[in-house]
């Protein structure tokens, strides 16, 4: 039997090949130093970013860091206080120009849905279809209703839908007219995991097939890492790092990025020649992801994630620290271990192992990749 490789329903590495994009290196959305002030407060601060044709870029960042504001500026719903925005190489917003939202061909899924309360589900979805009454439109609506699994709710008014159902209508509505650029503001936040996984794959498939360039905001790391072509980590109105998901995850450029992705712990380590001394033993500096000579004699913070570490039950005398918390994650446990040195680290364990709180443990560094480190602040 031949392998039935569903190449369209696949992620980053696999499908850039057959996406319907003319020139994947062309920049479609270009933000150049955009700023948005609300009174004294700066929501977006000198932010620059470019998104390529057909790319799916995900913005990740803490609540209130300016993600929604950025999307709103791209859509033309908010005027930047400074900087410029280009879409498909045309300036849509700078000091002198301001293109109206309806002239940008940019779709948006709002964080709070913004469904039309006077239209039912089907009418909401058909809204953006030029000739909304036609048979064609009708078919498209049916198709999208199937996609978002709301076929039975076709005639319902939005006020009678559950939160997740509303969100799905919003998503379907924005997909209907196949915009050049689609902005998704936490489009799956109210969906259960199964539906979320399903939907995000479907949406990704649709976007790729139509060659739509998309910028999505999410607070779901797994989502960001798994479906994005690139991720951009935002903090305090500006972008801290942008890049390939794996690259960003493995080589976070700043403590902020590191601490924001995955459950990061920082291990203080004293550099002593070719060795670093930590609360869980001494390692070779070669395990770090860059030359650390300059810090010889000083301390640095080494990023360790739960999957880099393993706790091993041991005697009180040989222990590095004690288990202080256990968290059940379904397939695994994450143990929090407080080292004698005072550092707190987390270790990921398969769900078959089990420690009791207060149990003395030794920590093994099992990471098979170079560890990121940062000068101690």
């Amino acid at each position: 039997m031949e392998p039935d490789i569903d190449t369209r329903n696949t992620t980053a590495a696999f499908d850039s090949v057959e996406s319907a994009v003319d020139d994947p290196s062309a920049t479609v959305v270009e933000l150049d130093g955009i700023t948005r002030e609300y009174g004294a407060e700066t929501a977006v601060d000198d932010l620059s970013l470019s998104v390529n044709d057909g790319e799916l870029l995900t913005l990740l960042g803490p609540s209130g860091c300016g993600k929604t504001t950025t999307l709103r500026m791209i859509a033309g719903l908010e005027r930047p206080s400074g900087g410029s925005i280009q879409i498909e190489e045309r300036a849509v917003a700078d000091g002198s120009t301001f293109r109206k939202p309806e002239e940008r061909n940019v779709g948006i899924v709002f964080q709070d849905y913004a469904l039309f309360p006077h239209l039912n589900v089907a009418e909401n979805i058909a809204f953006g279809l030029r000739d909304a009454d036609s048979r064609e439109a009708d078919e498209r609506v049916t198709e999208l209703l199937e996609l978002v699994d709301l076929t039975d709710h076709r005639e319902k008014m939005p006020s009678k839908l559950s939160g997740g159902q509303q969100q799905r209508v919003a998503l379907a509505r924005s997909l209907a007219p196949e915009p050049d650029v689609l902005l998704l503001d936490e489009p799956f936040s109210n969906l259960d995991v199964r539906l979320r996984v399903e939907m995000r794959e479907e949406v990704r498939k649709i976007l790729k097939r139509a060659g739509v360039t998309a910028i999505s905001v999410t607070h779901d790391q797994e989502e960001a890492l798994s479906i994005s072509d690139r991720v951009a980590i935002m903090n305090d109105g500006t972008i801290e790092q942008v890049g390939d998901p794996a690259e960003v995850f493995e080589n976070p450029e700043s403590r902020f990025v590191a601490s924001f992705l995955g459950q990061a712990s920082f291990l203080s380590a004293r550099v002593a020649g070719d060795d670093i001394e930590t609360g869980m033993g001494t390692f070779r500096t070669a395990r770090l992801n860059g030359p650390v000579e300059a810090y010889n004699g000083a301390t640095v913070d080494v990023l360790v994630r739960p999957d880099d570490l393993r706790a091993i039950p041991t005697a009180e005398s040989t222990a590095d620290g004690y288990v202080t918390q256990r968290q059940y994650n379904g397939p695994s446990f994450v143990y929090r271990v407080t080292l004698h040195s005072g550092d707190v680290v987390h270790c990921l364990h398969n769900h078959s192992e089990s420690f009791e709180p207060g149990e003395p443990v030794e920590i093994d560094l099992t990471a098979d990749h170079p560890l990121a480190w940062y000068p101690t602040e």
Partner: protein, 541 residues
Amino acid sequence: MATGDRDRIAEQTQGATTERSASRVLSGVAVAITLLVLSPLAWLVLRAGEMDAVRAIELLTSQTTIEVTANTIVLVGSVTLLSALVGVPLAILTVQTDLPFRRFWTVTSALPLVVPSYIGAFAFVSAFGPQGHLSDLLAPLGVDQIPAIYGLPGATLVLTLFTYPYIFLTTRAALLSFDGTIVEAARSLNHTRWEAFKRVTLPQILPGIAGGGLLVALYTLGDFGTPSIMKYDVFTRMIFNEFGARRIDYAAVLSWLLLAMAVVILAVESRIEAGRDGAYVSRGARRPGEIKLGVWKLPATLFCGAVATLGLALPIAILLQWLVRGGVGYSGAGRPFELGFAWNSLTVAAAAAAVSVVVALPLAYLAARGDSRISSLPDRLSYVGYAVPGVVLGLALVFLSLKYVPFVYNTVFLLVFAYVVRFMPQAVGTTKSSLLQVDPSYVEAARSLGYPPLTAFRKVVLPLVAPGIAAGGALVFLTTMKELPATLMLRPLGFETFVTYIWRVQESGYYGQAAVPALVLVVVSGLSMLVILGREQQNGT
């Protein structure tokens, strides 16, 4: 524990009963208010009943009745339509565009409401009549024929100019509380401002427009002064003539026909509003961005200016002219205006506004939140009083009060009651539409935080609908200040107000003396209008 259990059970049942009884109390209050407000109709039943049935049918089916009915329908239709065509664009211009001097135009667009339409009509006749000032001005230029101001066109124009603010104000309120995010959603789906307006904004503000249109239509239906000055034969004039001939039974029968027309208008408006299903609640507080007028800035400004000139500047100019110009019956004897008259006007109008607002609340609440069709019946019925001509209401209350509550006769209480009957619907309308816009989950949130319904209402809903209530109160206040027929009939002995004084001197032809109180009336009413708009502004941004 056993006693505890019993206590609990008692509490529970009590809790359940209170809940149900609370809504029963509300319905009861609403029904009582409605009955009270409709009580004058009892008199109409009595008097109409005195007429011989055959005569009544003859009267109702007579050629004249049919013609006058048709006239009335045409007038009501054209005034309502034209008012919408003036009021809605003005509301949009002042709320959603970058029109220069928006606040100024907001005020001038609302102010024609303070000009009593009979004064406005008079001003028009003096300006545009065959021997009016305008033809005087134009005569040297060789223009000796200006278009006829009388008849349907004149009546429509004048009534529109002085009633379109109802639509302006209600549309404005709807636009201000409108959730801008959904306009953004439409625009991101490649709809231009205009398309978004048609497909998203309009359907949602339609109930607001219809609410204002209802007031315009019913006002037009019940107005006597303007059509009579503009020489257009309508129903109220027919009724007035019957009263003049002292045939009360005829007048009563004709009044029923008038009320039937009012009911039809109400039904039409209900249909428009029925489409609101969920369309009203505003969630997001984002205001839709401004529409850039571009080259339309000048025409738009001219439009605002033209309306303000005709509706506001012209009547004021005519009043000023009455003031300065002696001779030709414009000055004369009679008693001078006293400040006390103004005080009387202000106090009864304020009382009427206060009572109306309080009384409107349960009706509006029931209509907005009630779950059955019947629950909006009190609200609907309360509008009937608005269409009853003032004379009919006056005579009805003369009879009913003397018969059943003689001690209120000749007191301001009866007068205020009459005002409430006539004008409360204005407060009901604005209160209801602002109630509809309050997301019910706010009350749910408050109740889950431990507030009983009434407190939750007071702490959450009331602050949110306060602008609507204030606007309703102000409308009642303004219209009460202008009200003439019921005031003449029901005021206590020796109780003079702005309008009774203006009526007296004007009917005697002493226009000069009418000018001062009329101007003061306009200024005082204008100030109260500023208060409404000021509140609205605070709340809107």
